[in-house]
Each structure stands twice: as C-alpha cells, then as structure tokens.
Symmetry: C2
Subunit: 143 residues, 2 copies
C-alpha cells in the first residue's frame, strides 16, 4: 500500500466524477505535493525536473489547480507567487509569515473566527471566506 493511498483515492474519485484521466504526471505531482506543507508551482517544477526533465510548467499549474478542485490543495496568495497549501489532512487555518526568511507557520484561533463573524453580522454581511495573514519576524530573524 502506497504512502499516499488515501489522497490518491480522493484524486481518483474526483477524476472519475469529472471524466478526467489518471496520468503518470498527475500521480508524480501528487506524490511530490503531499510531501510539502506549502509550495509554489515554480518550486515544484524545479524539484521534479530531476525525476522528469520533460514535465512542463503548465502541467504543474494545471495539476495543482486540479488538486484545489479535488479539495486536496488550496491556493494562497501570500507574496508575489501563489503558494499551494496542502490541506489533505488539515482543516481551516491561517498563517504567520516571516518577512525575513519566508518561514510560514500555521495557526487556528476560534476566538478570532468568532469575532470575525460578529463584525460581519454587525455590518449585515454573511462571510463566505476570509484571509488572515500576520507578517513579521520569527524569533530567529529578530536576532
């Protein structure tokens, strides 16, 4: 049984339901993706260049977006490039980002979430999504 059997199953389910095909590239990219917490398309392109030098960047983008549709990934626009967040085994969370070294720390805080709902309803809004990112220096970079 492969290391990522469960997620591979999620992907195959999604493919089956949408008349999409299971390809060598999709398998390769999923395997690499699941080893990461956050990764950009470009980073993955360079990583995978060793395993398959002919894998195109467009395929990486297409496939990571496919993972988003399948619920395995989520696109996050932190800096200039899109980070694909591996949410296969995680619920909702927000991020702390170090402006020094780029380190990303995940966190959840129900109190903040609840206050967000309060702010929204006070203004007559119904929240669909939100983004909360805290930018600053990690302990290592502060010194």
């Amino acid at each position: 049984m492969s290391k990522h059997a469960k997620e591979m199953g999620v992907l195959k389910d999604h493919l089956g339901k949408h008349q999409l095909k299971f390809t060598r590239q999709r398998e390769l990219i999923l395997d690499a993706f699941l080893k990461q917490e956050h990764i950009t398309a470009e980073e993955m392109y360079h990583q995978l260049a060793r395993k398959d030098p002919h894998l195109g960047l467009a395929t990486i983008y297409r496939t990571l977006n496919l993972f988003c549709e399948a619920g395995l990934a989520q696109a996050r626009h932190f800096g200039t490039q899109t980070q694909y967040d591996n949410i296969s085994h995680k619920g909702h969370h927000d991020h702390l980002i170090c402006t020094g070294c780029g380190k990303i720390v995940e966190f959840e805080n129900c109190d903040i979430e609840r206050l967000q709902e309060e702010v929204a309803s006070r203004n007559g809004f119904t929240i669909q999504t939100h983004r909360l990112e805290l930018y600053g220096l990690c302990s290592r970079c502060r010194h």
Copy 2:
C-alpha cells in the same frame, strides 16, 4: 484656504525631506485622491482624463506610490488590481468585501488585533503588518 490644505502640507513635508518637487500633476492627483475612500490607478486615470487628457498612467502609479510613502495612502491588494486606500484621516482598519457588488466596508476591532498579537507571540513572532479581509455577501446582495 484649500479644502485639502492639511494633506497638501503632509505631502510637501515629505517632498521637502526627500529632495522631491511639487508639481502640477502631484497636486491634481492628490486633490482627486482625497475625495475617494479606495481607488485603483486605472479608475483615477479615467477620472482625471477629463481634467488633463495628457496625464500618463505611469504618473498616476508613481504618484499613488509616493502617497503611500508619505503616509497618505496604503496599497491594498483585494482583487486583481491594487486599491489605494485613503488613510489620511483614518487609523488602521480592515475590510469587509462583498463578492456580489464589490462594496467595501471598513472596520476596526481591537479584540481581534489583540488576539493576533497573542497568536504571534505564542509562536515567537513579532508582527510588522497583517491583512484581514472578510469576503461575503452584503445585505442587499443576499436577497
């Protein structure tokens, strides 16, 4: 005494401190900018085309970025284009954004801010900036 004398003073101070010059374009753009809460460079370009058809888009971008450095504006990346937020007479705030009509509502919530600090320090971070955006439907768009 002009309507925007105070902000014009802030701009002139900044110019003086940085060996920059006071130009007709900068005055024109500041006047238009201060009448808005949030505006994109493109929107301002079209608005000002009537007053000065030769005003270039690059000048608008440059000048809005200058206002950011002078502390009069703040760039916010809500959607595809950058919104320049008029903060000349406002403190820090976050935003509710309607995904239906694009309406933007500003809010402040010290409790959220305090919890953010807690999360950060618990993780060894010192916050420099943050972004909090709540996306959803306003009361009008919900019905």
